[in-house]
């Protein structure tokens, strides 16, 4: 399976994602410079974390106009697996591939910490190796991860089961007290209607090896690989 890691000026988790795919998952990975206009030949795309364009104007607001984005949007519309992590999630929102917007954290401070996530469903391409209601530990590191959407959108996300991860405590309680940034309904990650695009604020690439303190994140990348191989087998 071949992953493409899109690199915008200011991306800084691009190498981390690349390393996980190549050295941990053992799959092919290549960087895609944001000035490319084609993403032909890739089986999945990663929009990595970082500060694309220095977060100027608004997080992800300028990156979405990068030359590579029309190709990324086409790729997603054709059902290609696309994961946006942190700044990547913010870009997906700006590009309209996922609904909603990001606000500054409730504390108005950047937060780097380990958090618990509740896996809301395991029948998606990104979560099939996780258990339903499983609690996983994944680090966050962001200043603007306070996900917001209007009530109608939230109702739709809930109705369509598109909330994949929520912030919770070690027992799985999804109380506001365990919500690090103030996001609506404790949302940490959502998918699109077709289920092939995931946006999440936490960083699975930072917990894919035991030496970094945990391997829960690995299961998300491994799920992508598993679902790609399943499609191949069909």
């Amino acid at each position: 399976m071949k992953f493409g890691v899109v690199v915008f000026p200011g991306s800084n988790c691009d190498a981390d994602c690349y390393n996980v795919i190549k050295d941990v998952l053992g799959q092919e990975a290549e960087y895609i410079w944001h000035k490319e206009t084609s993403v032909l030949g890739y089986d999945a795309l990663i929009l990595p974390g970082g500060f694309s364009y220095g977060d100027y104007l608004r997080t992800g607001a300028i990156a979405r106009f990068s030359p590579v984005m029309p190709a990324v949007i086409d790729f997603a519309n054709q059902g290609g697996l696309l994961i946006g992590i942190c700044n990547g999630f913010q870009i997906l929102l700006e590009a309209g591939l996922l609904p909603g917007a990001m606000l500054r954290n409730r504390s108005l401070k950047f937060i780097c910490d380990g958090v618990n996530l509740k896996v809301k469903r395991n029948d998606t391409a990104f979560s099939k190796l996780l258990q339903p209601s499983e609690i996983i530990r994944v680090p966050i590191a962001h200043g603007e991860g306070n996900y917001f959407c209007d009530e109608a959108t939230l109702a739709e996300l809930q109705r369509e089961n598109r909330i994949l991860f929520t912030y919770c405590n070690a027992n799985g309680d999804e109380d506001m007290a365990f919500n690090p940034n103030g996001s609506v309904a404790n949302i940490a990650g959502i998918i699109n209607k077709q289920g092939n695009v995931l946006g999440m604020m936490p960083h699975p690439e930072r917990c894919s090896e035991q030496i970094l303190g945990g391997t829960d994140g690995y299961k998300i990348f491994a799920s992508m690989l598993e679902s790609f191989q399943e499609v191949g087998r069909k």
């Binding site: 981390d16 500060f51 220095g54 950047f110 030496i211 970094l212």
Partner: protein, 733 residues
């Protein structure tokens, strides 16, 4: 802009006279400005150079010692670490956010200038007491500034230290350290190239910000300092991120003969430093420098400290390729001058010569002052303080008080604002071990990093305090399983023209040198920050040590958390009870006095060797050195981190109970060990001739302490943990 006199630029009459004698004529405005910044303490080290020469700087591990942008040490497999620490105190005092942010930007540039990929940032901070609203504002601003800049660069901020003391109320300290990784055959030095080769400026455009920042950094702070806000530069981390990537591409393609960052004194200092390396001269045309403001004079262009700029000396004929790479990253790369053979630093504005000075006069010509040192009266007075006159306190209450002291309490409020995991190498995160540990991808190796300085000790006894700063750093590295390799230092002091301050400098440096020699951790880079004074007086002398160590096998790293019920707790090192200069005296008795505990370098050295052997043989479950708060706080921290209690039995005997519990005497660590491994531990302890005693066991959910059979403390881990966790947060709400 109003023209300044040479005095306003920071030169003395005597210095100006000297310059006139060198030049054999009056100087014009541009030339005066150039001399003023180059002869400032910040650039010229005129008050510290003779003292700095006494540091040990050599060892088989040293690839590059002081004199370059940063020091370099070998870590095997053709790899090396490049590292340095630097101050940004004065800018942070008046503009905390930008001051701290640009401090990070500056030190990071020093590292990638050497061709290294920056892999970790650390810092060392000092503030006044948190009860003060302005201090809280400073802390918030500094932490946000460090975080926003480093986070955007994608360099993890993995460690640091922070202390709060009235001595820093008007003059906080912000020292930033950066560590980079480089292949030994790709190290880039700031050597000037051949005569006729070009000089390019790359990165951000030049504005009017930061003019005379270097001079400002070399004065005492006063009420009028606020007027110097324009001397503080403004940072753009996004620009720096692009600059890092572009510059490292140049190195990979082997396009550069030399690289130099533009820091203090901007274009002036970086050109002078490059040219002075081998007696060359330089012609530079200010009209070619890309600007972001109109109407800038040659003086302003030469002295601007606009951030995120670098000077590049290309290999012959590579200018176009360099321009192409910078264009890819959307950055300027412009040829502004040429290396000459006449030894003259010549500033042109188009065809007009606007300044001409001999390069060597700026660097080698800078005067050196050996000041008068005089032992201050406070030294002997504090040393003679009779600790026996102190009443005993309730040990349990004292422990809780200490855990709530911001100097000891959890620093999570601070480090959670730093991205400490980006680059996916951080194997011991902030707060979990005595030092940060990051892996080197593609190898089994790990690197341990730490900053340390107990400035109260240095104030009370500069010589012992200086030794202790080095010893504690080395001990912290050993406690995570690393072999200490080398150090960088940031020497923060008051006004060296005052004999008592110079005495502090002299003795602290002598102490550091002695310890660095004994522990084989040479000084490979550093920075000096003097004139840290306000109307209220000088700061505590604060020679911060940043040290790096190597773990040959990162899987063997050790943290401070107690692990399993039943494990034995041992004290390695002497049983000591000296309370001089302790946090306990300060917090529980309101005293900062006493004789600083003695330092035995031989014992320290043996202890470090023993700890490393124990960790390499996987005998230790946890390891944590005794420092602020003494034995009791060390035990509490290991319990908090492991979320498990401990039962401690001490026999203070002749000694004071509070002394045994709270002494910060060096050369000691607390470790936990599986019972089954006790035999081997004892064997190694005997072989290494280190003192050791079993002081308790891990288990339960309480920290329980008995002295000679009598219970003196019983606290639930939960309560202790809450006190420790919430202290700083409460202040900052």
């Amino acid at each position: 802009m109003k023209e300044l006199t040479y005095k306003e630029m920071g030169l003395t009459d005597e210095e100006y006279g000297k310059i006139k004698a060198i030049m054999n004529r009056e100087l014009n405005y541009v030339e005066t400005g150039i001399f003023a910044v180059m002869w400032s303490e910040h650039c010229g080290y005129k008050n510290s150079r003779p003292l700095l020469k006494t540091f040990p700087t050599e060892g088989p591990q040293v690839i590059q010692g002081p004199g370059e942008n940063a020091g370099v040490v070998d870590i095997g497999d053709g790899q090396a670490l490049v590292f340095k620490i630097e101050s940004h105190n004065h800018p942070s005092a008046i503009e905390p956010y930008q001051g701290a942010a640009t401090g990070v930007g500056g030190i990071v540039r020093d590292i990638f200038t050497m061709g290294a990929r920056p892999i970790a940032n650390l810092n060392s901070l000092r503030f006044g007491g948190l009860e003060d609203a302005r201090v809280r504002e400073l802390l918030s601003g500094v932490v946000a500034g460090i975080g926003d800049y480093g986070n955007c660069l994608g360099i993890p901020t993995v460690g640091g230290e922070v202390y709060f003391n009235e001595a820093y109320k008007g003059n906080p300290l912000v020292n930033a350290m950066c560590v980079g990784l480089v292949k030994t055959d790709e190290i880039a030095l700031a050597v000037a190239s051949e005569v006729g080769s070009t000089i390019m400026i790359v990165g951000a455009k030049t504005g009017r910000d930061g003019i005379h920042g270097a001079t400002f950094a070399s004065e005492e702070l006063s009420e009028k300092s606020k007027e110097k806000r324009p001397s503080v530069q403004v940072g753009d981390p996004f620009m720096e991120k692009l600059l890092i990537e572009a510059c490292l591409e140049l190195i990979q393609e082997d396009l550069v003969a030399g690289m130099q960052d533009l820091g203090a004194a901007g274009l002036t200092s970086s050109i002078a430093e490059c040219a002075s390396k081998n007696g060359r001269g330089v012609n530079v045309d200010v009209l070619k420098v890309p600007r972001r403001e109109t109407g800038m004079s040659p003086y302003e262009v030469m002295l601007s400290e606009s951030q995120e700029r670098m000077l590049i000396m290309p290999r012959p004929g590579t200018e176009q390729r360099i321009e192409a790479i910078f264009d890819k990253w959307g950055l300027d790369a412009v040829t502004i001058g040429m290396v000459t053979d006449d030894g003259i630093f010549r500033v042109m504005e188009g065809d007009t010569v606007v300044g001409e000075v001999p390069v060597m006069a700026l660097t080698e010509g800078c005067p050196v002052y050996v000041r008068i040192a005089e032992e201050p009266a406070y030294y002997q007075k504090n040393k003679d303080f009779d600790l026996l006159s102190l009443g005993q306190t309730n040990p349990q209450e004292a422990l809780l008080k200490l855990l709530a002291s911001p100097n000891i309490a959890s620093k999570k409020w601070i480090f959670s604002q730093y991205d400490y995991q980006v680059m996916t190498n951080t194997s011991i995160i902030p707060g979990d071990g005595d030092a940060a540990v990051i892996r080197i991808k593609g190898t089994r190796k790990g690197v341990a990093l730490v900053t340390d300085c107990n400035s109260r000790f240095v104030y009370l006894d500069p010589y012992r305090g200086g030794m202790m700063a080095v010893c504690e750093a080395a001990r912290n590295l050993a406690c995570v399983g690393a072999e200490p390799l080398a150090l960088t230092n940031c020497l923060n002091f008051g006004n060296p023209e005052k004999p008592n301050i110079y005495w502090q400098m002299q003795n602290a440096i002598a102490g550091m040198s002695a310890a660095a020699r004994a522990l084989n951790t040479p000084v490979v880079s550093g920075n000096v920050s003097l004139y840290n004074e306000t109307a209220q007086g000088a700061i505590y002398p604060t020679p911060v040590v940043g040290m790096v160590g190597l773990l040959k096998d990162i899987e063997l790293r050790c943290d401070m958390a107690f692990k399993e019920a039943g494990d034995l707790i041992v004290l390695l090192g002497k049983f000591r009870d000296e309370l001089g200069g302790s946090e306990y005296l300060s917090v529980c008795h309101g005293l900062e006095t006493g004789e600083v505990p003695e330092v035995n370098l031989e014992e320290e050295k043996t202890l470090l060797v023993l700890i490393q052997s124990l960790i390499h043989e996987k005998i230790l479950q946890s390891c944590h050195d005794i420092s602020e708060g003494g034995l009791a706080v060390t035990l509490a921290e290991s319990s908090i981190k492991g979320n498990i209690g401990c039962n401690i039995k001490i026999n203070s005997g002749e000694a004071r109970t509070d002394g045994v519990l709270f002494s910060e005497a060096p050369g000691r660590v607390v470790a936990s060990v599986k019972r089954a491994d006790m035999g081997r531990l004892v064997q190694l302890v005997i072989e290494n001739e280190v003192e050791m005693r079993i002081i308790g066991t891990v288990g339960g959910d309480e920290i329980q302490v008995e002295d000679s059979g009598t219970e003196i403390a019983r606290l639930s881990v939960q309560e202790v943990s809450r006190t420790w966790r919430e202290a700083i947060e409460c202040f900052m709400k």
